[in-house]
């Protein structure tokens, strides 16, 4: 723990100073924090538990709609806010905005957790591809259903409350950055402490051989559900923040954005190395930087460039960056390798 202290302190200081060092990049940095949260929590299922979920986007979108709805609904009639023909203009005072956001975020975290428990109970019995496809359907269905609910704007979309005027133009960027950075730190601490308990070993046991784990007396279902609920909690939180940051929620393009966010969170975790603590974080950071770069330098071709990146990842880093490093420098990961052994392996190849 002490060894890592310098590292953690450095990252924390960097994180706190980032918006002042790069004031123009606050929004990108906030999005980076959200991406890391999504990748890290996806890793609980995809990496540690071996359940490739495409459904985490459900909790993200749910959190987004819930946070915005609560933030509006606490002070104004929600139906009038989202009604497109409405002639009234509602403005949040700063106090209302922040109170609403606080309560909204709590709801955005808690409700998806409960939903994850309920859905998990019914579908976590599925394994492998069946689970992946089923969760893929969840995200798509949620997008279409929410696009038909009038009170949250339906196809019109939902404009989240504009950030109140608190004097400085930079306030909005800083507020959302620190909110997302705080969420990231919270997620990291939570995930890290979970990974140091028996819980992680159980998840790994499920990944490696679920039947055997069950035979050993582990109630796998219970742990699978709890794992998913933990992910849902943080995904919901991330969604709530993202809604406020983007300022406009569209059912399929922003909230239940399985085509982008839903796939990105998987990609980032795989790029960094699934089943590791740092993998998703590194993966998300590199991915985000590449994506932003492609956007600027390959305008119109960004998806081609992104596609090439994905192909390269899959071919050259099937185990992700962390996995690749681990294979190359096993000693640095605390693995003891016998020199003879290594030579023997090289010869075998």
């Amino acid at each position: 723990m002490n060894k890592n202290f310098v590292l953690y302190a450095a990252i924390l200081i960097f994180g706190l100073a980032a918006p002042f060092l790069f004031p123009a990049f606050k929004v990108q940095l906030s999005i980076l924090c959200v991406l890391i949260v999504l990748a890290t929590t996806w890793n609980i299922q995809g990496g540690e538990m071996g359940y490739n979920s495409f459904g985490n986007i459900l909790f993200y979108g749910l959190g987004m709609y819930l946070c915005a709805s609560v933030q509006v609904g606490m002070f104004f009639p929600l139906a009038e806010w989202t009604e497109s023909g409405g002639e009234k203009t509602f403005v949040h005072t700063p106090t209302q905005f922040f109170q609403g956001m606080a309560v909204g975020l709590v709801v955005a975290a808690v409700v998806p957790t409960i939903v994850a428990g309920l859905i998990g109970y019914s579908i976590l019995g599925l394994r492998g591809h069946y689970f992946a496809i089923c969760t893929l359907g969840l995200g798509v269905a949620a997008g279409e259903i929410s696009g038909g609910i009038e009170i949250i704007g339906a196809g019109q979309g939902f404009t989240t409350p504009p950030f109140p005027n608190v004097g400085s133009l930079e306030a909005r960027g800083e507020f959302f950055y620190f909110l997302s950075f705080f969420t990231l730190v919270l997620t990291f601490i939570a995930v890290r402490s979970i990974y140091s308990t028996r819980f992680k070993l159980i998840l790994n046991a499920i990944r490696d051989n679920e039947d055997k784990a069950e035979a050993m007396g582990i109630e796998t279902m219970k742990y699978k559900i709890i794992g998913w609920m933990i992910s849902a909690f943080f995904c919901g939180l991330a969604g709530g923040i993202m809604g406020g940051l983007v300022g406009y929620i569209d059912s399929t393009d922003v909230a239940f954005d399985g085509r982008e966010m839903g796939v990105f969170m998987v990609l980032m975790a795989i790029l960094g190395g699934k089943g590791t603590l740092w993998g998703p974080i590194i993966g998300a950071t590199i991915f985000h930087i590449f994506k932003e770069g492609f956007w600027t330098f390959f305008l119109g071709w960004q998806y081609v460039a992104l596609g090439v990146l994905i192909v390269v990842i899959v071919i050259y880093f099937p185990e992700g960056i962390m996995g690749w490093l681990r294979e190359k420098y096993p000693e640095r990961f605390g693995e003891v390798v016998d020199e003879k052994d290594r030579k023997a392996q090289v010869e075998l190849k």
């Binding site: 590292l7 450095a10 990049f25 196809g155 393009d253 982008e260 990961f333």
Partner: protein, 412 residues
Amino acid sequence: MKLNKIILSFVSALVILFSTSVASFAKVVGDKIILGAAISLTGKYSSNGVHTQNGYNMAVDRINSMGGVKVGGKTYKFDIIYYDDESNPKRAAQLAERLISQDGVEFMLGPYSSGLTKAIAPVTEKYGVPMVEANGASRSLFTKGYKYLFAVLAPANLYLDVAIETAVELNGGKPVRIAQAFEQDAFSQDVRLGILDAAERTGSKIIIDDKLPKELNDMAATLVKVKQMKPDVLVVSGHTKGALTAIRQIAEMKVDVPMLAMTHCDAAKLSKQHGKNSQYALCASQWHKSLTYKDDFFKDGMTYAADFEKEFGYDPPYQSAESSAALLVFKDAFERANSFDQKKVRDALAATNMQTFYGNIKFAPGGQNVDKPMVLFQVMCDASGSCENKVVAPLKWASAKLIHPIPKWSER
């Protein structure tokens, strides 16, 4: 411990990368006024995004070659920084932020579609960046109290209510039965609200009210109902894809309906793509080349259409025309403000009162253009099978008489 070193060096690499990538433009560099725009070059709105971009580019070239913009005794030329928003509101909002805070853009042009404009408007509003947009028609854009948003087009709820009124009139003033199907997006849903208003006003009844998914490829279920219930009017709106899908399936299923009212016929190049199948479709349009508005840069609609066709190889849809008009508005405002101060330019924009080849432009306090009515045109084909869009309403500009009711498929 070694692992920590790797991560630490990674973090420091990140710091270097971020700090070297800060490139800053200013809004006015040398003799250039740099405008920013996020446009849908890919994704579901890509065809209309390109129409928008072509419209912008055409006007930039024209204004620059005809003397540019004169501010403070100096001549400036327009330049536009484009980004691709991928038809995604999340991306559009990010790009707006990026254009303003990273690229230093101080004046913006709008994206394509109401949804994306809705995502960008809060950002431009926050920074006090004047935005003239040409493709966000949703009424809710103009009720949010935005001060820096100006739309050269009429709001979406006015698109097709004329069609309903015309149908009632042709029905001897008696209410009609309406079937409607709209895509789940901000613009189409607003068109729907307009129809609801018109129906209430005329006492008409809505017998089918369907919502269609985005990226509209199939509306057979709605058309089956239309066949069964035989409404007097069928209203469909779903951007370019919606228009194409509707015509394709109506022809395939031989759906007979006395009046078919749509949006985006010209953007979808219906008369070219579907020829005679698209005949009789009644379309709402912000602009038509046969209208008689005039200005100094493009002369009139016919000249604009000819020049546009020469440059881009197709007849300009209204999306291109209104986009070109946005730049004329900006030029006019810069010259009247005689300054690049954002507040002054904003005030000049608010006081705009001008005529362009596209129509009169005068902004209401909400930012929408209140001085330009919508037109309705009908796709009409001659015996040789070549089709053309002809204005049928309002009567002032009508170049043909509305054909009503649409002949049955068995009689065509």
